[in-house]
């Protein structure tokens, strides 16, 4: 597999640096993050070190369209152990935000996002639940708070 240098997008690099997090610039590819990651154990193709390197080089499309940036469990073990102070989970969050902007969003997330915008909550109240809550004497929960639409707009 040959990597095409034409793929490097410097605008993406500038955005990553200025709007999100600069710490990834210090990465010297030691591999402590990958070796600490609980996710790599069960999904060998998820490699935080490689993702940081690709982001560092500016391979925007390759990185943002990757399904792997969504697998970080945010456990923060890598950040604790990184000798250069790279905040890998922050980088993952930044890449996710940028991916969403570009329209790369995993299907479950798309659903969730819609839910959030429509009802202000991720777990909508249906009639069954509302009834059960009432039975227990629990306070009613507003189904579709109006403000969310205003805020989302």
């Amino acid at each position: 597999m040959i990597v095409d240098v034409e793929e490097i997008d410097s605008r993406f690099l500038r955005r990553l640096k200025s709007e999100f997090d600069e710490s990834y610039l210090s990465c010297f590819q030691c591999g402590v993050c990958s070796a600490s990651c609980p996710v790599i154990e069960i999904e060998g193709r998820f490699n935080p070190r490689r993702l940081v390197k690709m982001a560092r080089l500016g391979f925007k499309d390759r990185v943002l369209s990757s399904e792997y940036i969504w697998l970080c469990s945010m456990c923060l073990l890598c950040e604790e152990r990184c000798p250069q102070g790279v905040r890998i989970p922050e980088v993952m969050t930044a890449l996710r935000n940028l991916a969403v902007e570009e329209g790369y969003i995993p299907e479950p997330m798309r659903r969730i996002q819609r839910l959030l915008v429509e009802s202000g909550r991720l777990y909508p109240i249906d009639d069954f639940t509302a009834e059960e809550r009432a039975e227990r004497g629990l306070p009613e929960v507003e189904a579709e708070p109006e403000f969310v639409k205003r805020l989302a707009g």
Partner: protein
């Protein structure tokens, strides 16, 4: 013709460099009536011109000389030494810069340039009028050197200095010299027997009549000045008389107490009565009084009656001219690297411990057994960068020697059939024959894994080393019998205390700060104190040896020249004026002033001539040689009083760093307004409010203070104080009727010389817009000041 003293003025045209812009003829004619002699020259620095000046000085009996030409940084020395030949004291020579700081920067304004040149020369003349001759004092240094630290650095330096013929005092904290190098069985890349190449040098040290070897001792106090240091050394109680001890070892054999051996990194025992290793120098036994039970068996057994259990520490005093710091390193405490399990898992050892295990004279007799478990090891993993190159947990720097010594140890192990894994981030081989050594290690079969080790996991008798293998793109879990971690080298705690005692700064990692990282690597920030070896930063033995030789040479140089004490010192005008308030003591950045019998006393050797104390004295009792109040005011007045320029700005400029920047602007022919007239000073902290008011009183519309960056240049520390003072002065100006914006203060860095154009132009425009200071205020100020 003017009266005494007789002043001669020469104005150079410098080919056309000055002459094309400044009307030199007009200037000469304007000042001729004010002095004894005035002349225009085409090239002042040419041999015939200089001869001319000398002859004229003799012929007319001139007592002061003013030379208006290029920057004094070019030719001052030449002119001064030439004039000394005809009996003119160099303090009576005034140099005026009308090229870099005039003709070259006012090409578009020849009229302004001419007026400015005239003003500056007048300033020089008035200053010369009140100048007095000054003699530089000379002092001899004590021709003895103290070397602290008896490792390979200290040993090398002491042998070199002793060979040269200087007396050397080598102080070592341990009972024997040899440092860490004596602990290694082999060194890289030659795989020479380390002990074999060092012990002859150690023996030379002990035999050399010029070397006073003081072991088992520590430096506890250093006072005095460079060239004349007074040192106190604490001799720890050895319990054994070195003159009587024959090194038979009987005491050690009968001693019942066993403690961990420092030489063997605690992996094996030694007795309380011991010699650290057989080739120790001096070859004298020591009683470790912290472990000794005072049973007395050694005293009985000693055939020479050399042991005294009541031995006590003593303080000796030494007087030396120079000091070399060579206190070496220790390893970063592996206990502070919890993820690598040192101390928890006995299968983990440090690299220094491994050196001892490999040594045939070590705790295992050279057998491949881990002394902590007693078990043989067949499979070893090295963890490089364990706590180095780590900004979060450990030291941020690269420890430089670990890659090489790991490769060395690997080769020694591989030769004996051990399987060796090296887990690394990078392999750094920055020396001669090092890359080849790396290749050789690979050829011998070492296994390399690129990926920093994250943690160690015990499993039965073995330890699993976990890290990523980036080349295979897999996480590796490597079960081994023994793990060797390579922590970074750091300076010893004693070094920090010594640095404080010697008043030398250390850098952010604790290493001694060299005077200049590129051009002066073995000198410290203090004259007469030098350093070499690991104490300056991680390095291999070759580089340490080179530095030790260099430091020895620097010490020789320092001690052989007579020290010149420049006549630029602060002094007390009249003891009657001083009431011992101590304000000057506080202001002095060099701690050169003290109050003795209620009067200020200035140590001429410590005084750097920055002038910071002078404005601090509430009685005005202090003045400065070569920059007296009289001279300063005369120069200010001379430049301003008769100037016909529309706008006059007096810029006080720090005379080393900032002056250079201004010259550079001139060299680049940057154009800026001719209102700027420059007076150089050692530091802006020399200025009193009075001087600034004086400038306004006699014609300045604006005053600039251009200070050097903090701590740079010879008067470094003084530059810090001036900013605060300038702020105070600004407030006080308003009280005297002068708008505070007319006083400018900023710092100039040499690389920023291009900004000077903007700085000068901005201030000029501001002053020009506001208009000149009104005459009333000036008159009022003059009244106040007279």
């Amino acid at each position: 013709m003017s009266g005494k003293p007789k002043i001669g003025v020469w104005v150079c045209e410098c080919g056309g460099n000055i002459g094309d812009y400044v009307d030199v003829q007009r200037v000469v004619e304007a000042i001729r009536p004010e002095v004894a002699y005035a002349r225009r020259e085409r090239y002042l620095c040419s041999k015939p011109s200089i001869e001319n000046i000398k002859r004229t000085v003799q012929r007319l009996g001139l007592e002061r000389v003013v030379l208006a030409c290029c920057t004094p940084k070019m030719h001052r020395e030449t002119f001064a030494s030439n004039l000394e030949e005809v009996g003119l004291n160099r303090a009576l020579l005034e140099m005026v810069n009308i090229r870099e700081q005039c003709s070259w920067v006012h090409k578009d304004d020849p009229e302004g340039a001419t007026q400015k040149a005239l003003d500056l020369i007048r300033g020089g003349i008035e200053r010369a009028r009140v100048s007095k001759p000054l003699e530089a004092k000379r002092a001899k240094s004590i021709p003895e050197v103290l070397i602290i630290g008896g490792g390979v650095a200290g040993i090398t330096a002491s042998l070199r200095l002793a060979e040269y013929g200087l007396r050397v005092h080598l102080v070592e904290k341990r009972p024997s010299i040899g440092g860490h190098m004596i602990q290694y069985p082999k060194v890289f890349p030659t795989l020479d027997c380390s002990q074999c190449i060092l012990t002859p040098k150690m023996a030379s040290v002990s035999n050399n009549p010029n070397i006073d070897l003081i072991t088992y001792a520590e430096v506890v106090e250093v006072s005095g000045v460079p060239g004349e240091f007074h040192v106190k050394v604490r001799l720890k109680p050895r319990g054994v008389n070195p003159d009587k001890c024959i090194g038979c070892g009987t005491c050690s054999r009968v001693c019942p107490v066993e403690v961990p051996s420092e030489y063997n990194m605690g992996l094996g025992p030694r007795k309380a009565a011991y010699i650290p290793f057989p080739q120790a120098v001096p070859s004298v036994y020591t009683i470790d009084f912290e472990a000794c039970t005072r049973c007395g068996k050694c005293v009985e057994a000693c055939p020479r009656d050399a042991i005294n259990l009541d031995d006590e520490e003593r303080i000796i005093e030494l007087d030396v001219g120079a000091i070399i710091l060579a206190t070496g390193f220790e390893l970063y405490d592996a206990n502070d690297l919890p993820r690598y399990g040192y101390g928890r898992y006995p299968q983990v050892v440090t690299s220094l411990e491994m050196e001892r295990i490999l040594d045939v004279n070590g705790p295992t007799g050279g057998q491949l057994i881990n002394p902590k478990t007693g078990k043989e090891f067949k499979r070893v993993a090295y963890i490089l960068c364990a706590g180095s190159r780590d900004t979060e947990n450990g030291k941020p720097y690269c420890s430089r020697v670990c890659c090489l010594y790991a490769l060395k140890q690997a080769q020694l192990l591989l030769d004996r059939g051990v399987e060796v894994w090296i887990h690394y981030i990078d392999i750094r081989t920055p020396g001669r024959r090092y890359e080849e050594f790396y290749l050789e290690t690979q050829r011998k079969g070492a296994l390399f894994v690129k990926g920093k080790v994250v943690e160690l996991i015990p499993e039965g008798d073995r330890i699993i080393v976990r890290g990523e293998d980036m080349m295979l793109n897999r996480i590796v879990e490597n079960p081994v019998d023994l793990v060797v971690i390579c922590p970074p080298v750091i300076v010893t705690d004693e070094t920090h205390k010594l640095a404080e005692m010697l008043r030398i700064p250390v850098d952010e990692d604790g290493f001694i700060l060299e005077r200049h990282p590129k051009l002066d690597p073995v000198a410290t920030k203090r004259d007469g104190v030098f350093a070499c070896g690991m104490v300056l930063g991680p390095k291999d033995i070759q580089t340490t040896t080179a530095e030790a030789e260099a430091a020895a040479m620097k010490a020789v140089n320092f001690l052989s020249a007579e020290r010149l004490i420049e006549p630029n010192k602060a002094y007390l005008i009249d003891p009657e004026l001083c009431d011992g308030c101590g304000e000057c003591v506080e202001a002095c950045p060099e701690a050169a002033i003290s109050i003795v019998d209620g009067k200020a006393v200035i140590n001429e050797v410590l005084c750097s001539g920055c002038g910071a104390c002078i404005p601090a004295c509430p009685k005005g009792a202090l003045d400065q040689q070569g920059l007296t109040e009289e001279q300063l005011k005369a120069q200010i007045r001379g430049i301003l009083e008769r100037s016909e320029a529309d706008v006059k700005i007096l810029a006080f400029v720090e005379r080393e760093v900032v002056y250079t920047a201004v010259d550079l602007a001139g060299l680049a022919r940057l154009e800026y307004p001719s209102s700027i007239r420059i007076i150089p000073l050692p530091s802006m902290s020399r200025l009193k409010l009075e001087h600034i008011l004086y400038a306004f009183a006699y014609g300045a519309d604006g005053v600039m203070l251009l200070e050097a960056p903090e701590h740079e240049g010879p008067y470094g520390k003084a530059h810090v104080i001036s900013e605060e003072r300038a702020d105070d002065y600004r407030w006080e100006l308003e009280d005297h009727g002068v708008d505070s914006f007319r006083l400018w203060y900023s710092r100039v860095y040499v690389p920023d010389w291009r900004k000077l154009k903007k700085v000068f132009t901005t201030f000029h425009d501001m002053i020009a817009d506001e208009g000149p200071l009104d005459d009333e205020t000036r008159a009022q100020l003059r009244e106040e000041l007279d």
